[in-house]
């Protein structure tokens, strides 16, 4: 956390930290730790709160653009105030709790969900010096914090005492536990190669460029790419986004576990979904996309947090794009995809990564062999398992009546 020696031309890089230290400098030393912590947290809350607000707007606008319409554009300039109008509305909207419901759990569910989805931000390095807390087991912490979100969703569904909500709660549990595993398995190769569970160290391990343009991000290796794809699919599922939005499948279960939530509690669920999405994407950036590292040496002058933000936004855009395109999976297909495709692939990917790690010394022609073997190890199982997964599903040829 302490700013290292600052080159004078990198003041932008350190500006957030210096601002923070300047503020805390006015406080007595005994309070400085607390103030620093609070400022960090408030900064995270403010940045991601705003990001949440504008992500909802961006989602609505991008969805609109994909669907050939402009989306919200009259609340404020270009509709920029739309999220705040929604916020005001949600804050003042009556809060209805069904009388059959379990009131305590009904209240706690959104609170716990938001709190837990926020916790993950603590270990994500947003920039070269911007990480809230450095832990030795940071990645594990991240997933431990995320592991409990399914409990909150279950609480929401169960406490509502609504049939759709309960069905959704069961779906949510099965879905989240099915995808937690590929999510965990997908980053184990990264840990193997980086040799650490600390996020800052993992980012540092991806530093440097070949020829100044080819970054050493893990996603640019065969095992890293496979891991990244598995991770992103699982992240989509973990954040209940389309095509994995079964717990809140509108055409099937009304609003799923949210059916009985109104007013700001409902907004909190939304917030949690977006926080969770941001956190998972942030972790994906950290683990596979080189974190805050610039893509080529020449672009290092742009502050690291900008790179992080750009990568994060790209992934989020991908989420929105996917949401606008793909239909929803069915529950059995969803679990099948997790257990019969992603988990085996992730396990095999462990082997690929091990091979990659053990052959780190190969050079020259052997380097080509190394790439070929690794690619085969990634593509072979993908093709085989994919064929098995999509068995019986194929485009068809149609005939016409003879007369």
């Amino acid at each position: 956390m302490t700013p290292a020696a600052v080159p004078p031309d990198r003041w932008l890089e350190l500006a957030p930290l210096q601002l923070r230290d300047w503020v805390t400098g006015f406080l007595p030393a005994s309070l400085q730790w607390l103030a620093t912590g609070l400022i960090t947290i408030v900064a995270i809350l403010a940045v991601f709160g705003l990001l949440f607000a504008y992500l909802t707007l961006a989602e609505r606008k991008i969805l609109g653009r994909i669907q050939n319409r402009p989306g919200p554009n009259r609340t404020g300039w270009f509709g920029l105030l739309q999220p705040f109008a929604d916020g005001v509305k949600a804050l003042t909207k009556e809060d209805v709790v069904p009388r059959q419901a379990d009131p305590v759990l009904h209240y706690l569910a959104p609170v716990v969900l938001v709190a837990l989805s926020l916790l993950g931000f603590a270990v994500i390095p947003f920039g070269r010096h911007l990480v809230a807390v450095e832990l030795d087991a940071a990645v594990l912490y991240f997933f431990a914090a995320g592991a409990a979100t399914e409990l909150a969703i279950f609480m929401a569904g169960w406490a509502s005492r609504n049939k759709y909500a309960l069905l959704a709660a069961m779906r949510a549990l099965a879905q989240l536990i099915s995808y937690e595993l590929p999510l965990l398995l997908a980053f184990v190769p990264v840990v193997m190669l980086a040799g650490t569970l600390s996020t800052t160290a993992i980012v540092a391990a991806q530093g440097g460029w070949t020829l100044g343009v080819l970054p050493h991000w893990f996603v640019l290796t065969p095992w890293g790419f496979a891991g990244f794809v598995i991770f992103m699919i699982a992240a989509l599922a973990e954040s209940n986004r389309s095509p994995f939005d079964l717990p809140e499948a509108e055409s099937e279960l009304i609003a799923g576990h949210l059916t009985e939530y109104s007013g700001f509690k409902y907004a909190l669920f939304f917030m949690a979904e977006y926080f969770g999405m941001c956190a998972l994407c942030g972790m994906a950036v950290t683990l596979f996309l080189g974190g805050w590292q610039a893509p080529c040496a020449a672009l290092e002058c742009i502050p690291s947090y900008a790179w992080f933000g750009a990568k994060l936004l790209t992934l989020l855009l991908g989420f929105i794009w996917i949401r606008a395109t793909l239909p929803r999976l069915r529950m059995d297909q969803l679990t099948r995809l997790a257990w019969k495709f992603l988990v085996p692939l992730a396990l095999i990917n462990l082997g690929t990564a091990a091979f990659w790690s053990l052959t780190a010394g190969w050079t020259g022609g052997l380097q080509l062999v190394r790439w070929a073997v690794a690619l085969a190890l990634v593509a072979g199982p993908f093709v085989l398992l994919g064929r098995r997964l999509s068995r019986g599903v194929a485009p068809r040829v149609y005939r016409y009546a003879s007369s």
């Binding site: 049939k163 759709y164 095509p243 055409s251 949401r323 395109t325 929803r328 999509s390 003879s402």
Partner: protein, 390 residues
């Protein structure tokens, strides 16, 4: 369906559910889907009994949009029923109009000039394009696409509606056909507009199919889901694309050869599996055939009057008798059964609603599938509540 006739004819008995159900599986959950449910396309209701998420019993409930269409038809003149038919299947007012006009023409023995017959074909095929596009959009919406296919379908629908509007004056409720012809003669501009739409529609279909037809998720969701065997489909009176998706070559445009259809060259696509995917694909392929029909109709549209000179607008009193007229609507066989007692109002006015009768087999299709499947099965049957409940 290899079972003997009597067994598949019988509707699935709900009382057998408990016997099938394993006592260790947990409680059955009875969920009411509808009348307010995003996927029931209106105010339809299904009482679904679930074992886990598997449907063991499904009872449709109708009547939430029962607007006494037939009673009103018996209390008003023949002409006044025409705008009401617009509101039956409110996506396809043109074909409803045509079916009603056809029945009245049969009843009163009116002839329709050739130009009007061609015009009717053009409008019916435009309606088919409109209906099938919207259905595909709604079906994919039910599959969980966040509106995108529906938006694209409605984008094209607006183009067709523009044509309808500039011809008949109204977007949806065209009230265009008259007994013995059509109300307005289209201008050359309008026909050029249809030509333009026809030329551009293939590209839209290509885009739509690129969007989702080959999509693995969509195929996995729909293939093998809700299989309908041909004997059951025939016995249950299922008509239209649903029947053809089960492999029965039955298209009234070919079978009855009404209107100007015998003069056109088109094919009838058939499905081999009778599942949801086939029902979707048969409609997509039918749209491509519709484009062919439109091309031919536009090229050969004859000149001449558009109304039978014998036809009367006011004081229309057909002789006593009865007639049943039917056409191939986008949803299936839409028919009107009229009994005249010589008065200005029909004595009996009956609509044969394809959506309603196609729903007979809904429970058969859904049993053993999950809630998610039931939603898309319902979507693939393609119902419009205005017609189901009338």
């Amino acid at each position: 369906m290899s079972a003997p006739d009597s067994s598949f004819l019988a509707p699935p008995a709900g009382s057998q559910v408990r016997a099938v159900h394993d006592e260790f599986h947990g409680d059955l959950l009875e969920v009411s889907m509808g009348p307010h449910h995003p996927s029931t396309h209106g105010v339809f209701r299904m009482i679904v009994t679930l074992d886990g998420e598997t449907i063991v019993k499904l009872k449709p409930v109708f009547g939430y949009l029962h607007r006494n269409h037939e009673k009103l038809g018996e209390n008003t003149s023949y002409l006044a029923s025409m705008p009401y038919t617009d509101r039956l299947d409110y996506l396809n007012s043109m074909t409803n109009n045509w079916a009603y006009a056809l029945a009245v023409e049969r009843l009163a023995g009116l002839a329709v000039p050739a130009r009007a017959e061609y015009l009717r074909v053009i409008l019916a095929e435009l309606t088919r394009l409109l209906n099938h596009s919207c259905l595909a959009g709604f079906l994919l919406q039910d599959c969980g696409c966040s509106g995108t296919p529906l938006m694209y379908a409605f984008r094209e629908r607006e183009k067709i509606l523009d044509l309808f509007e500039s011809l008949s004056g109204s977007r949806m409720m065209c009230n265009f056909q008259r007994f013995g012809g059509c109300r307005v003669d289209p201008s050359a501009d309008w026909l050029a507009g249809v030509q333009q739409l026809t030329d551009g529609y293939g590209a839209f279909l290509d885009e739509f199919e690129a969007l989702l037809t080959g999509n693995e998720i969509f195929m996995a969701r729909t293939q093998g889901v809700g299989r309908l065997a041909a004997p059951l489909a025939i016995s249950a009176g299922v008509t239209g694309p649903v029947l053809r998706a089960s492999g029965v070559a039955h298209d009234l445009r070919k079978v009855d050869g009404y209107g100007a259809y015998p003069q056109f060259d088109f094919r009838v696509p058939l499905g081999d599996h009778g599942d949801t995917y086939d029902r979707y694909m048969v409609r997509i392929l039918e749209m491509r055939e519709s484009i062919q029909i439109l091309r031919q109709a536009l090229a050969r549209l004859p000149d001449g009057p558009i109304m039978d000179p014998k036809a009367k607008l006011r004081g229309f009193r057909p002789k006593a008798g009865e007639a049943y007229g039917r056409i191939e609507g986008p949803k299936g066989e839409i028919g009107f059964y009229l009994i005249s007692d010589g008065s200005p109002n029909p004595y009996r006015y009956r609509v044969r609603p394809p959506s309603f009768i196609n729903l007979t087999i809904l429970e058969d299709l859904c049993l053993g599938h999950t809630v998610a499947d039931a939603v898309i099965i319902l979507g693939s049957v393609d119902i419009v509540l205005g017609e189901v409940d009338r």
